[in-house]
């Protein structure tokens, strides 16, 4: 079965991104497909490569990046939500005249259409938010 997953809250502040990670991992390990994970609202902040969590805490971004690499996951950050919140890839940064970018390996930035498409093309849509 194909699961689409929405993550609506930022890392650490809300448990949403942890719960989504645990759900996706369990789905993949049990023979299901997760064609896409869509990060919306503050969820876009999960994709920053600049976070440095305390050493005795989990590294949420690295967990997602590793899971994406292992299972060839499509981790999509909503461009509109990302622009408000200061999450950029190299392309966007240069297009917008910003002097830095902060997106992590394994994530890509794209439009809201990817969320709707995910809803159309998957069998179940899961939302993890606040």
């Amino acid at each position: 079965m194909k699961f689409g997953v929405v993550v609506s809250e930022g890392p650490y502040t809300h448990q949403a991104s942890d719960s989504a990670y645990n759900f996706v991992k369990a789905a993949l390990e049990n023979g299901h497909e997760v064609p896409r994970v869509f990060f919306y609202h503050d969820g876009v902040n999960v994709g920053t490569r600049l976070s440095i969590p305390p050493q005795d805490e989990r590294n949420i971004q690295k967990n997602w990046t590793a899971l994406a690499a292992e299972h060839d996951l499509d981790l999509v950050i909503c461009i509109a939500a990302a622009q408000r919140r200061g999450l950029l890839d190299e392309n966007e940064a240069s297009r917008q005249g910003k002097d830095a970018n902060n997106i992590s390996e394994g994530f890509r930035i794209s439009g809201l259409g990817q969320l709707i498409e995910m809803g159309i093309q998957t069998d179940r849509l899961m939302t993890f938010g606040d």
């Binding site: 448990q15 759900f23 991992k25 369990a26 390990e29 049990n30 179940r124 849509l125 939302t127």
Partner: protein, 102 residues
């Protein structure tokens, strides 16, 4: 055609669980996870309402979230079934849609 409802908020902090309870239909399932697990505990001001709904919908709680919050199995409302993440995935697959009550 049934729905898996998910509730991740404490019922003492927000109205999400109550709204979910009043919209879930017979044969649906409700999974309480994250802070939602508090809704599955005995002896609270809301326990009777939750237990009563258990007659027409199936109630689940995410074990890991209950453990994190120090909720022992004995404190769960009668009829609430603990599941792990694999069980969560199975519930989502077994119902026709999922409705997250944020």
């Amino acid at each position: 055609m049934s729905t898996l409802h998910t509730v991740n908020k404490s019922p003492f902090a927000t109205g999400s669980l109550q709204s979910c309870l009043s919209h879930a239909k017979d044969g649906d399932a409700i999974l309480m996870f994250e802070d939602g697990v508090y809704g599955a505990t005995k002896g609270t001001t809301l326990a009777d309402a939750v237990a009563a709904k258990g007659g027409s919908v199936t109630l689940y709680v995410l074990q890991g979230d209950a453990d994190a919050r120090g909720i022992a199995a004995a404190r769960l409302i009668e009829g609430v079934t603990p599941v792990d993440y694999v069980g969560f995935v199975r519930l989502a697959a077994d119902h026709d849609r999922t409705h997250a009550w944020l």
